[in-house]
């Protein structure tokens, strides 16, 4: 008899606990309703990519020395470097260079290791195409510069959260000269110079 009552009591306790947890969950969802929507109304609004954004890779044909370091550091040996040895100048001559962005994982190793800095990351991320073969960029396509979000008259550029002034969490309608929280790199440099000269 007591065992049965204990069972009933335990069951009731569990039920109350479950109800309590559901109440906690409801309060969390309710709390979320008063928060600011994080929506970015793409394509009318776009976020400004951060400085170290790893987008489509840019390639400068004339700087390349065809050393193939990019191929060696690439996880899947992706860049295709087509060169021939010029016997007169005793130098490699680059004919073609291409990267297939349908396969690239944008790890940035090639950019990191390129000895002549002919590879660099851009902030371009809209690479969609109707045919995957169009994602195989040759040296001409790789040499194109992306269109900046801030220059596009169709688009309202929005700053990312870390680039908003202190205490502001809505990127819309910021005053034009507003700066992000903390010092900018050049300000830090100046402060360091001033500190060194003292």
């Amino acid at each position: 008899m007591f065992k049965f009552l204990k069972q009933v009591g335990d069951y009731a306790k569990e039920t109350v606990q479950a109800a309590k947890y559901i109440g906690q969950g409801l309060s969390v969802t309710f709390d979320h309703m008063q928060r600011r929507p994080v929506t970015v109304q793409y394509p009318y609004e776009k976020l400004i990519p951060s400085e170290r954004y790893r987008g489509r890779i840019h390639f400068e044909f004339d700087k390349c020395i065809a050393c193939e370091v990019c191929v060696r550091v690439c996880p899947i040996n992706l860049p295709v470097v087509d060169w021939e040895f010029n016997k007169e100048t005793k130098k490699k001559k680059l004919n073609h260079y291409s990267i297939d962005f349908g396969v690239c994982i944008f790890c940035g190793n090639c950019v990191e290791y390129c000895p002549t800095n002919c590879l660099s990351m851009t902030e371009e991320y809209e690479l969609a195409s109707f045919d995957r073969h169009e994602l195989n960029y040759d040296n001409v396509a790789l040499g194109r510069l992306p269109y900046k979000v801030t220059d596009d008259p169709m688009v309202t550029p929005l700053r990312e959260f870390a680039y908003l002034p202190k205490g502001v969490d809505d990127p819309h309608d910021l005053p034009p000269e507003s700066q992000r929280a903390g010092q900018r790199p050049e300000e830090i440099m100046e402060a360091m110079k001033a500190g060194a000269s003292e």
Binding site: T15, G25, L26, T29, M33
Partner: protein
């Protein structure tokens, strides 16, 4: 007791004054409340779809529909129009008749149930003396339609969804009916009007939630399960069953299911409001208030004010419950089929029985508070 505004009586009377016999005047009256109720139900669906999308968006820190009309209020209309213009597809191997009949059988009982939803003393289509029982019996027709459409689609997902829907509706019908029975026992009537009347007089304190807190919870859980709302949306669980019994449906037939589920949600919320939240009653007892202020109950403007307040209160309470349902949707994960049946048979059913017994005991012990 003053019965408030009697629209039917005054309508028939005014037609009689024009020289029309009372029988024909009554025939003129009959379609008016029905059409009004159907329009009301459809508008209620549009509002609840919009609310669902907006509240869901807010709970996920999104904006939700905002381009169709101000604040996106026309989005449900746009959705509906899209469904109307879509191609009507019947799968090649499906049973054409059952396939069409299924969604119809799901929607019609739900709309019929609006017969007994009162918005005021005389603001309902019929005051049946088996009112709430009619709703329970009508709501048990819907699973037949679901099973029918699941079976007729000739698709394993549809069949599984239909079977799940039938199992779920049948198991949750019982605690639902038991919870209603406890309320009916307290008000000595199955008529929705009497049930609300029994809660009136003391404002918010007289509502059945305070006397039937357990019944209220059981009823709400079972109603959510009947509406196949999350966390009980197993019959259409997208991740496992594509869309359950709706998988093969498109265009208008799908729209029937869609409308049916939302009307059902609004209806359940209305019924909860009637059974447990005092129906059209204002949180402060308006009749006594008028009495204290020395205003006669038969004053025309007071009657108009109380009648419109009654409609507003009923709708407000119902939409508050819809809001809770949407919030619950984004709070709780979906239960498994075994958990669902366990909850229904091993938890809700015994608790509902105990609740019924307790109510009976309390009714005998305290006949004043529990409707002797």
């Amino acid at each position: 007791m003053n019965s408030g505004i009697d629209l039917q009586g005054s309508f028939i009377q005014s037609l009689q004054q024009l020289g029309i016999p009372p029988e024909i005047a009554k025939i003129f009256w009959l379609p008016l409340p029905m059409v009004l109720m159907v329009i009301g139900a459809v508008v209620g669906v549009l509002v609840s779809v919009w609310l669902e999308r907006k509240i869901s968006a807010a709970a996920q820190q999104r904006i939700g529909p905002e381009f169709a009309g101000p604040l996106g209020v026309l989005q449900p209309v746009a959705d509906g129009l899209k469904l109307v213009f879509k191609e009507d597809i019947v799968p090649a191997q499906a049973d054409n008749w059952l396939f069409t009949l299924g969604p119809v059988l799901v929607v019609i009982p739900v709309i019929l149930s609006f017969l007994i939803v009162p918005f005021g003393q005389n603001l309902l289509i019929t005051d049946l003396n088996v009112g709430i029982f009619l709703w329970i019996s009508l709501s048990s027709i819907a699973p037949i339609g679901l099973l029918m459409s699941g079976y007729a689609s000739n698709n394993k997902y549809s069949l599984l969804g239909g079977l799940r829907a039938a199992a779920q509706s049948i198991s949750y019908e019982i605690p639902l009916a038991l919870a209603v029975l406890a309320v009916a026992m307290m008000s000595n009537s199955l008529s929705t009007i009497d049930i609300v009347q029994q809660q009136s007089g003391y404002g918010i304190l007289g509502w059945n939630v305070w006397r039937q807190p357990v019944g209220f919870l059981i009823f709400w859980i079972a109603a959510l399960a009947e509406c196949e709302r999350l966390p009980f949306d197993l019959p259409e669980a997208e991740e496992e069953l594509v869309a359950g019994y709706q998988t093969e449906y498109a265009g208008m037939r799908f729209a029937l299911f869609y409308v049916g589920s939302y009307i059902n949600l609004v209806l359940s919320a209305l019924i909860v409001a009637i059974l447990y939240l005092g129906g059209w009653e204002f949180p402060i007892p308006l009749d006594s208030l008028a009495g204290w202020l020395g205003i006669s109950e038969t004053t025309p403007w007071l009657q108009v004010v109380t009648a419109s307040l009654g409609i507003i209160m009923t709708v407000l309470k119902a939409y508050f419950l819809v809001f809770i349902a949407v919030l619950l949707r984004w709070t709780l994960p979906r239960v498994r089929i075994d958990q669902l049946l366990n909850l229904g048979w091993k938890f809700l059913l015994p608790v509902a029985l105990v609740n019924l017994l307790l109510t009976a005991g309390l009714k005998l012990a305290f006949p004043i508070a529990f409707g002797g």
